[in-house]
Structures are given as structure tokens and as C-alpha cells.
Amino acid sequence: MLAKSELEKLLDTRDPERRIVITPLLERSQVGPGSVDLRLGFTFLLSRRANIAAIDPMATDSLKTVEKCQERITLSRGRLLYLHPGEFILGSSLEYIGLPTNMGAYVTSRSSWGRTGLVIATATSVGPRFRGVITLELANLGTQPLTLRPGVRIAQIVFHYADGGGEYDGRYPCPTGPEPGKIQKDKDLEFWNPS
């Protein structure tokens, strides 16, 4: 895990091969002893009722099915989003992250938010050379509605060195907002789902 002084060094270096990019980093105080606070972005994917039987994430046209029951909204600064008990939405970090080849990261909840019942980022691993905003899976496990506000510090990212890194060839090239899952792109899916 990278501690503050190393994090600051890598945030400030001009060497693109070593640099950690976090943009916009609105306040330097977001850099903590062993992590960087991430803010909630302005765009969300919300669920809506749709004329579909079920979402089968493994179906080849699952992305289209998912799109039918999701609505992308962008809030302006100062607007609120209410997350009701049991509700699940996708949001993203405000910050666009860029990792060098030799580095990975984990995104975790901030405990202050966890104590309100908010669960964030169940898929927390960020691979070397990833570029993009981090999609946050937001769910309210509490019993009271939660008020979310874009811009608030909602998660934290912890960096670590990774040996033998290469080019990022994941499914999410340069995302700038929350992205639905792409399980259907698993290469061995045909074996598990014979027609």
C-alpha cells in the first residue's frame, strides 16, 4: 500500500510512466495517510420499470436489455438524489483515474458512509494502466432513505505496486461515467451457455 508521501510524489511527477493521475483533484486534503478520497460524480444509472422478463447478464444481448431498464441522469451541483432502502443504483467517482503500468488499486467505502447503511463498490479492484472514472455500485442497506449529493467524498482509493503489469485490455476503456456490467463479454461464456 502506498502511504501519503509516496502518493504525493507519484501524483506530482511528470513522468507519464510513473504518474498517478487523479483529475480533478479539487483539494489536496483528499490525499490521506494511505488513500485518496474520491467524490461522488454527477451522473447516475437508475433502474426503471421496463417490459422485460429478466436480466440475464450472460445473454449476448444483455447490454441492450440492461439499457432498457436503466436511465442515465446527470445532476447539477447542489441537486440531491434519494436512495431508498433496498434501492440499488450505479454512480461513479467524480475523479478520472489513471494508473501507471506498475500499479493497481482498490476502491473501498468510507466508513462514515458505511455507518449510514450505504454500501459502495463491491467490485473494487482497479487494474494496472486503467484509465477512467470508477463505477460505484451504491446500495442502501439501512432502513431509512439516504440523501446523496454529487461532489461529496464518498469512497477512497488505495494504491499498491503491481509486478509485471502491461497494457489495460479490460472491458471499460476510458469510461467517463457509470457503466453497466459486461459479463456477456466473458470469452468462455459459450462453454457454460451451450445453445
Binding site: V21, I73, T74, S76, R77, R131, C174, T176, G177
Partner: protein, 457 residues
């Protein structure tokens, strides 16, 4: 229809409009301007509804019902302005740009089915319509908080093509063009046009006409020449504003939009007297050379893909130069007596408008120095797969530089993030658009945040 029929019709229309407004207003909007517009329409509909119920003049009632229909159709501006339909991150920058020429103006950004960029001065339209119906004090109440309101339209199919939205610089320019044209000496303009028309010897058959008919033809031609000239100048001055506010992005946008059009199509009534595209492109290319932007493109230095982007940009400009060196548009214009006279003094008039525009735009002008200083850093950011939102010295760039970087990168057709082993694919254009939009969001947010912080420390 009787008075009673019209009053019942109006009641039903008012109820319908309220229902549609309630539905439209339940959406999420990128700013609070659409919300204000919704409230404004509600006040307007109520006032008009009340006027109709208290009036018994059949003509006025018909007219008022027609206005209600028009208002009903304007609910679509709200419906198409929700944050799920427009590039919400762009609205702040567009609002700032329009407010430079119209302090305090509110902006509603919406998508429209037609392939066109528009800025509609909605408050002016309503004031004109209502002037003869409602009392001045009622009108003032209806317009409270919304004295100057623009509805900015972008084409639905291009909503995610943020680079093309540089066209809004041109659209915002129409207001300045109108203001400038009002300052022209109309008497002198008519006199010089009449002198240029001479004895109409150039107009087929004019010499055989009896004096009275000849006078009529002369008046019609004079009107045609002046309207054609005015329309040409409206577009060309707006182009100039587009150039001054968005720089090279305005040129690329104009070229992109012109691609599906006939370059030398002469101005005609059915095309609302638009000047030929080639002529408009020539105007922008002239700025590119006189402001020496071409030198800045030539001097872009850096490792791949910067060198590739530079070469592609220079090649692109060279090809555009070939297009505008061809004067076939002038051949078409000069072959027509009306058009040649309408276009005779355009160059001179444009030069005259430049000082006026520069003064009005003030600090909004996107100058060469900003472009020159910022562009290479931002291209590097794009090449690395980052939003073009930060310069090497960690300062924030101008959002117009981010757009220019997006255009230059896109025109070069290299992969993003750049990899010498990856070929360009169409999806890279989409990535560039998203990165530029993210950059605009970051730039505007950082500026606002820093302003807030400096005011709170």
C-alpha cells in the same frame, strides 16, 4: 365558433398544458433554468386563460387560443432539455458564453429533431405576442426572474458529439450580428445599392418595361439585394463570432456541417438566403492565416502521436485551402445581377463589424496566445487517455482549448489512448468526445471550486 366555444376550448387547453408541464417538470435538469422556464409557462398559461375567460372579443379570443397552442408546443423545450437528453456538462460553458453578450440571460439547452443548431430568443417572442393582449404589469409579473431567456437547440443525433457543439459560438453570434447591422447607415446603404443597380440595364427585359412597372421591379430588386446582403452578413458575422469564441474548432465544425451540402449553392428563398458554404469557409480560413494559427499548427512538436496530429492538421488545412482557393462560388454569385450586387461590399462590411464584435465579446475571445500555449499539453493528455483538463504546469486550461485538442486529435485518426500498435477505429471518436466532455466538466468545476475556496478563506 362562438365565444362560449372558444372559452371552453381555452379551458381544456390550459388544463392540458398544465398536465404536460407537470410531467415535463418532474424530470431532472442540468440547471435550474428549465425549472424557471416551466414556472414561467405556467404563469403565462394562467394569465392567458384568465384573459380568455374575461374577454368577449371573438378575434382576440381566436388569437389567444392560437397563442395557447403555440405555448403548448413549447413544452417540448422542457421535455427535450432533461439531463438524460443533453450533454449536461456543457451547459455552464454555453451559459457563460451567451451571458457575455447578454448579461443575466438564462439558457435552456435542448435537443431537437432537425439537424440544426439554434438559439431562440424566447422572451422576446413572448413579449411581442403578449404586448397587445395583457397589461404591462401582468407581463412584468409573468416575466419575473426570466427577463432574458434563450432556448439553445442542438441536433438530437449529434447530442453526444460535443466537438460539433462549437457551432453554438456561431449561433450566439446572431444576436451580435443583428446588433451590428442596426448600426449601419441605412440611408447610405440604400443610396449605394440604388447606384449599383443603375438603370437596370443588367436585369433581363427591364429596359422594355413601362416606367411604372420598371419602378416596381426596381423596388423589388432593391429589397431583394438588401435582404440577401443582410442575410449573408448575419451568417458571416456570426461565423466571425464563432471563430473569435471557439477558434479553430469553429472552422472544423463549419467544415463538418458543410460536408453534406452543395458548396456553391447560391442564396435562395428556400434556403433562407444562406450564403454559399465555400464563401463561409473562406472567411474562416482567412482568419486562420491572418491570425497565424497555421504557424502554431506547424510548430507543434512532440513525440508520437503529436507529430502525426501536426501533419494531419497541416494536411487538413492544405486541403481546405484548396477548397477555398477555388472561386466557383463567386462565379455563381457574379453570374446573377442581384447576388453580385448584394455581395459586392461584404468584405468591407465584415471588416467594419470586427471591431464592434471584439468590443462586445471582450474577455470571451479565445485568442491565439491561449491556443498556442495550451494545445500541445492537452493533446498529450488525450494521447495518454486522459481528459484534456490540465496543463503541464498543473493550471486549468480554457475549455475551448480542450475542444480544439479534441478536434485536432479526431482529425488525425489515431487511437486513443495512443498506441503505435493500435489502428484508429470509429469508437475512438466517441472516446474523444467523452474525454473532452469530461474535461469541460472538470475545468468548469475546478474554476467554480477555486472561486468558492478563495472567497471562503
Amino acid at each position: 365558433m362562438s365565444i362560449d366555444d372558444l372559452q371552453r376550448l381555452a379551458k381544456a387547453q390550459v388544463i392540458n398544458i398544465h398536465q404536460r408541464l407537470a410531467e415535463a417538470r418532474s424530470q431532472e435538469f442540468p440547471t435550474n433554468s428549465p425549472e424557471l422556464f416551466g414556472e414561467f409557462l405556467e404563469r403565462l398559461v394562467d394569465a392567458l386563460g384568465e384573459f380568455i375567460q374575461q374577454n368577449s372579443d371573438l378575434t382576440l379570443l381566436r388569437y389567444s387560443c392560437e397563442i395557447l397552442r403555440i405555448i403548448g408546443s413549447h413544452v417540448r423545450y422542457l421535455e427535450n432539455g432533461s439531463s438524460s437528453k443533453v450533454p449536461a456538462q456543457l451547459i455552464g460553458s454555453i451559459e457563460n458564453l451567451i451571458q457575455q453578450t447578454r448579461p443575466g440571460a438564462r439558457v435552456l439547452l435542448r435537443v431537437q429533431w432537425s439537424f440544426n443548431y439554434t438559439v431562440i430568443d424566447i422572451s422576446d417572442i413572448y413579449r411581442t405576442i403578449l404586448r397587445n393582449l395583457l397589461a404591462a404589469s401582468t407581463i412584468d409579473t409573468i416575466f419575473s426572474g426570466i427577463a432574458d431567456f434563450c432556448v439553445v437547440g442542438i441536433p438530437t443525433i449529434e447530442y453526444s458529439n460535443v466537438l460539433l457543439h462549437a457551432a453554438l459560438g456561431h449561433e450566439a453570434g446572431h444576436r451580435l450580428a443583428t446588433d451590428y447591422l442596426k448600426t449601419e447607415d441605412q440611408k447610405n446603404l440604400v443610396a449605394t445599392t440604388k447606384a449599383a443597380m443603375g438603370d437596370l440595364g443588367w436585369y433581363p427585359g427591364a429596359s422594355q418595361l413601362p416606367p411604372l412597372f420598371r419602378f416596381n421591379v426596381s423596388q423589388r430588386l432593391l429589397d431583394g439585394i438588401l435582404r440577401t446582403r443582410k442575410r449573408a452578413l448575419e451568417e458571416l458575422i456570426s461565423d466571425l463570432v464563432g471563430w473569435k469564441t471557439f477558434g479553430i474548432s469553429a472552422l472544423f465544425t463549419l467544415h463538418n456541417i458543410s460536408l453534406v451540402s452543395v458548396l456553391d449553392a447560391p442564396p435562395a428563398e428556400e434556403t433562407r438566403l444562406y450564403p454559399p458554404w465555400r464563401l463561409r469557409l473562406r472567411g474562416m480560413m482567412l482568419k486562420l492565416y491572418t491570425e497565424e494559427i497555421i504557424e502554431d499548427l506547424n510548430s507543434l512538436r512532440g513525440s508520437s502521436p503529436i507529430d502525426m496530429i501536426r501533419d494531419a492538421a497541416v494536411r487538413y488545412v492544405r486541403e481546405l485551402n484548396d477548397v477555398v482557393t477555388d472561386t466557383s462560388d463567386w462565379n455563381v454569385l457574379n453570374a446573377d445581377g442581384v447576388l453580385s450586387r448584394a455581395y459586392a461590399d461584404l468584405g468591407e462590411a465584415l471588416v467594419g463589424s470586427e471591431a464592434f464584435i471584439s468590443e462586445k465579446l471582450g474577455m470571451t475571445i479565445y485568442g491565439r496566445e491561449t491556443f498556442r500555449r495550451q494545445i500541445a499539453d492537452l493533446l498529450e493528455r488525450l494521447a495518454l487517455g486522459f481528459p484534456p483538463d490540465e496543463l503541464r504546469d498543473s493550471t486549468i486550461p480554457d475549455f475551448r482549448s480542450a475542444m480544439a485538442a479534441g478536434w485536432l486529435y479526431k482529425n488525425a485518426r489515431v487511437s486513443v489512448p495512443y498506441s503505435p500498435t493500435s489502428e484508429w477505429e470509429i469508437r475512438h471518436d466517441e472516446t474523444i468526445n467523452r474525454l473532452v466532455l469530461k474535461a469541460i466538466e472538470s475545468i468548469e468545476l475546478t474554476k467554480s471550486f477555486e472561486a468558492w475556496r478563495s472567497g471562503n478563506m
